[in-house]
């Protein structure tokens, strides 16, 4: 297998470099336009990728994706989801356990892991369920999943909340065996029965049952105190309210080992979009107010929210082509996550590319304990690299999405650039903006 050269891209948006990749590893990096770069034109270069004008990032790592397989292959498969992930610049995704059957045994997580390896486009890391069948009654075999070939380290009943405080305590305690982390979907079920959108003046006017912020905040408050009490790591999925941010800030100040994620859509979209009653904008947790969006952006900059995670949730067309109450909740997000992040944080100057790399690659890899992902762009690192081209702008069309489902809230929106190339373990998964 010959070398691959990535020419002229700027790692972390800094100075352009030529990067040589061999056998899955970055072997050489020299500044572009230096006479030394001629030495790279040796034989044995299998592929040269032009990255001039582009930014090079470590391959993105998603800590929260739904690949729907097994059970809902009509919406997405591990293969199509991997493709969507690659197009979005990801080299690793954690796929949630709310499949059918639920990923609550070593058997199912190994099946999912194996399908990911077969597709061979990104690292697919199965998330194990916390409770059997996601029923919230009994712990699943967390140990078996951890020791399986899938090597599960992140556990979540996402889709549902581990609402029983005793069970949540036990889970937090138990994962200490293998230094795992419980990722909580914070939603008190009793306060959100049949909820359709954020509770507030707008839901009152639209006649849609409300999902109050307190239903998220109360669970987070409880969980951080439990995590402190038993001395275990907690991760909070898709934080959506300003109040939640304050609680997490308080917890971190106390030294509680909590990490948190936010989705791209909660960083950009607000509940006013629900006025159209168009189920494209129906998601769980729901779109909230502008004040919440601002608090979440601040939290990402400050580090109170550690990472951006997509919560990519594909749904077939008939589950969205209906009245609001009947529609499924969720938006696809793998293919648009990076441009949302660029629009919100890079173009505004709120974050540098290095900071963004931390929040979309390094830290998620660390939370998920993924070897070889989120590594610094330097010789010796595993070659998981994403190249972002700011000149590849355009409007997002549904046909451009390679994932199986098109339930994106950004259709018709202007994108400030696109992923141009992606190297996964030293092999190209995306070349010139298309799947390799």
């Amino acid at each position: 297998m010959g070398a691959i050269v990535l020419r002229g891209g700027a790692p972390y948006g800094l100075d352009p470099h030529d990067i040589v990749v061999e056998d899955g590893v970055i072997t050489e990096m020299t500044p572009s336009n230096q006479s030394g770069s001629d030495a790279l034109d040796a034989e044995g270069v299998e592929l040269e990728l032009d990255a001039s004008g582009c930014t090079v990032m470590p391959g993105l790592v998603d800590l929260h994706t739904h690949l729907r397989e097994p059970g809902r292959e009509d919406a997405e498969t591990i293969a199509t989801g991997s493709q969507a992930a690659a197009m979005g610049g990801f080299t690793c995704v954690h796929t949630m356990a709310n499949t059918s059957p639920v990923a609550d045994t070593a058997g199912v997580v190994e099946q999912v892991w194996r399908r990911g390896v077969e597709a061979g486009i990104v690292d697919v890391r199965p998330v194990g369920a916390v409770t059997v069948g996601l029923k919230g009654e009994q712990l699943a075999e967390l140990g078996a999943m951890a020791s399986s070939a899938a090597s599960v380290r992140v556990f979540s009943d996402d889709g549902l909340c581990v609402h029983d405080p005793l069970l949540m305590r036990r889970a937090l305690e138990y994962v200490k065996i293998f230094d795992g982390v419980v990722a909580q979907h914070a939603q008190d079920p009793r306060l959100t029965e049949a909820a359709q959108m954020n509770e507030g003046a707008l839901s009152a006017r639209l006649g849609l049952a409300g999902w109050p912020a307190v239903a998220e905040e109360a669970i987070i408050a409880r969980d951080v105190l439990l995590a402190e009490h038993v001395g275990s790591r907690l991760h909070v999925c898709h934080v959506s309210t300003a109040g939640s941010v304050e609680i997490i800030r308080w917890a971190k100040a106390r030294g509680i080992p909590v990490t948190a994620e936010v989705t791209p859509h909660h960083l950009l979209l607000t509940e006013e979009l629900v006025e159209s009653f168009n189920p494209t904008f129906k998601v769980n947790p729901p779109l909230r107010r502008a004040e919440d969006v601002h608090a979440l952006r601040e939290a990402v900059v400050e580090g109170t929210i550690d990472i951006i995670a997509t919560d990519h949730a594909p749904h077939p067309r008939e589950d969205k082509d209906c009245e609001w109450a009947a529609a499924a909740m969720g938006m696809v997000g793998l293919e648009t996550a990076l441009w949302v992040a660029v629009e919100v944080f890079i173009e505004s100057g709120l974050l540098s590319w290095r900071d963004l790399a931390d929040r979309m690659s390094t830290i998620p890899a660390r939370i998920g304990q993924v070897p070889d992902q989120g590594m610094p762009i330097a010789p010796g690192s595993a070659a998981n690299l994403t190249v972002w081209d700011p000149s590849a702008q355009g409007t997002l069309e549904v046909d451009a999405l390679v994932g199986k489902s098109g339930n994106s809230p950004y259709l018709g929106r202007w994108m400030p650039g696109a992923v141009r190339h992606v190297l996964f373990r030293g092999r190209p998964s995306v070349v010139d903006g298309a799947l390799a």
Binding site: S203, L208, A209, S276, N278, E323, A326
Partner: protein, 317 residues
Amino acid sequence: MLGKHLLSAGDLDRAQALMILDTTAELASVTERSVKKLPTLRGRTVVNLFFEDSTRTRLSFELAAKRLSADVITFSAKGSSVSKGESLKDTALTLEAMGADAVIVRHGASGAPYRLATAGWIDGAVINAGDGTHEHPTQALLDAYTLRSHICGGQGDLQGVHVVIVGDVLHSRVARSNVLLLHTLGAKVTLVAPPTLIPVGVESWPCSVSYHLDDALMQADAVMMLRVQAERMAGSYFPSTLEYSRLYGLDAPRLELMKDRAIVMHPGPMNRGLEISADVADSPRAVIVEQVANGVNVRMACLYLLLGGAGSQAGGD
């Protein structure tokens, strides 16, 4: 004049609301004649698409359309979600194939008429006959017409009229539409209910809120009683129907507190004995039956104004 659809009372400005009421007044005389039919909408097809049981509203619209000589088809669909039979989309596509000029839709999901109006499945006008807990614009219009007849001599707007709306505001589309329309017409609105049945965010509504019925009644020119479902007890909205009636039910003693000329209204169907006592419902101050009659005329006016000219552009979409 009205835009292409009638989806929300909140979409009507003062001029449009008055246009509907004035047109209703002209059409009311038609109802009094022996020949009650007008040729105005002959050749037009109006579909009643009712996903929720409602004989009263459905018949009202049917009669209104027939009095204008439109052809009426009634489509009673049970079960709206995809899993329970034909989806809203497929139903709509079927109606479009049948050539519906207008679809009058009642649905259990808030926003369903908006989907019909904007998803591109049908071409005709959409009239909201009640969607979930969101709106019921023609009910608000007939309520406004009734108020105008009794309190304002049948003309003009409702400036200065004080209307008290009592009951399960949280789940009431009638309340929402009425608050919006009454405000547009210059009336003053007070909502009365236990706090559990008042929506969070009501501070942004153009009305006041009170938890005390007696005080509000003394200042009302009209009181509108909303239906309260006994099933709400399961959600712990109130401890018992008895306590609810004691605190918020309109009975004969409470009727005495009201101004002499104040009227009692109810969108129906009534829970006699729960939110309204039998003797109040049957008293001469209750105009409930008149509301029903006004309903047909108001719906005739809406159908005429939406379908009686060249098709207009869809408003705002």
